[in-house]
Amino acid sequence: MKFIDEYRQGDIAERLAAEIAHATTRPLKFMEVCGGHTHTIFKYGIEDLLPENITMIHGPGCPVCVIPLGRVDDAISIARQPGVIFTTFGDAMRVPGSKTSLLDAKASGADVRMVYSPLDALKLAKKNPGRSVVFLALGFETTAPSTALTVMQAEKEGVENFSVFCNHITIVPALKALLDSPDLQLDGFLGPGHVSTVIGTRPYEFVPAEYGKPVVVAGFEPLDILQSVYMLVRQVVEGRAQVENQYGRCVNRDGNRKALEVLFDVFEPRDFFEWRGLGSIAHSGMKLSRKYARFDAELKFDVPGLRVADPKACQCGEILKGVKRPWECKVFGTACTPETPIGSCMVSSEGACAAYYNFGRLSKIAERSAAGS
């Protein structure tokens, strides 16, 4: 397929890996912020290609992984209301709340349906005028414009039985929170490619300017990631810290003007939003703006809105910050598996724990950690 195959050529990958090994003069830790990158890194075994002195830390950029227990509970409570059709992306079905998941709620009679697009949820609302259709909106700036355009469409068509349970989050406050956490040790970031198609690369410029760390915004194919790691290594060895853009075919400095406009029209920032494992982060969440408040499920339904502490056994917080690796969690692969997840990092294929579990590179990773690297 065009724009995919040419970024998967094995011979170039090997040369690139050799070049990276050649250029890397000391142990380096880079974080890929985005779950999409985590997915590619595991699917194509990129860690096996990289030299031993480069460690990839898998960051908090998987929106399914950071949704807190309390919000899942709220979603379930809406799904259980009589007359509701509750719609969600597939990944969110298994995310555990404090007692059950949406999948459990569905099994016990709630009308929970998987959709590919928020537009499909809107279609369902039009087809079922007697029911109230709620869409569980999840994701960073990548996905938020899609929700926004869908809400605008609902308004235009006067679809009153459609609403959104909004859990959209923004990447920059999360990055700031990470950079400010004292236990974090990183040499640079792979910047999220798809978020950046919307917000551009300019919002990351504070990272080198204020924290002295390089950022390379990266595409999602194996060669994209290898090239971006190479660019990061070059910045480090040359003593530079800049925002560079490897994903120029989809990303520019200023982002997508139209997408940003609809975001500002439909959403406004929340004072605080809770992230699983990371705690409450100021201005990191979005809710529907006053103009579209009648499509806000939180106002339409009574939700418990309780804050629930993360499960004790779960170390998702440390995992998301890259302080611990998944296999260091006591319940990894035993009590916590993709079938019976305890933490949300085990749910989505973009979550670090699920990625380690599914792609079975454990023995190699254990070897490495035993060797003390």
Partner: protein, 88 residues
Amino acid sequence: MCLAIPGRIVEIVDAENSIAKVEVGGVRRNVNVGMLDREEAAVGNYVLIHVGFAMTKIDEAEAQETLRVLEEIGQYQDEFEQFKTTSE
């Protein structure tokens, strides 16, 4: 859920409501192109598709440039190999 795929616009289905048909690996589907400018949402263009929406037009010239750089990195390695093997 944050993954996106490249597809080619094959038809403008409903300009008023920003709906276009795209083809991805032989499969066709309507997507919403409301995030793109009119000239970006033209038949023949490649766009990046995520949850039923085209997020951005894929820039061919930039894509070529990335590939050129990628190949160049490889070439340097070849030269380096030759340099090494002929140095003894």
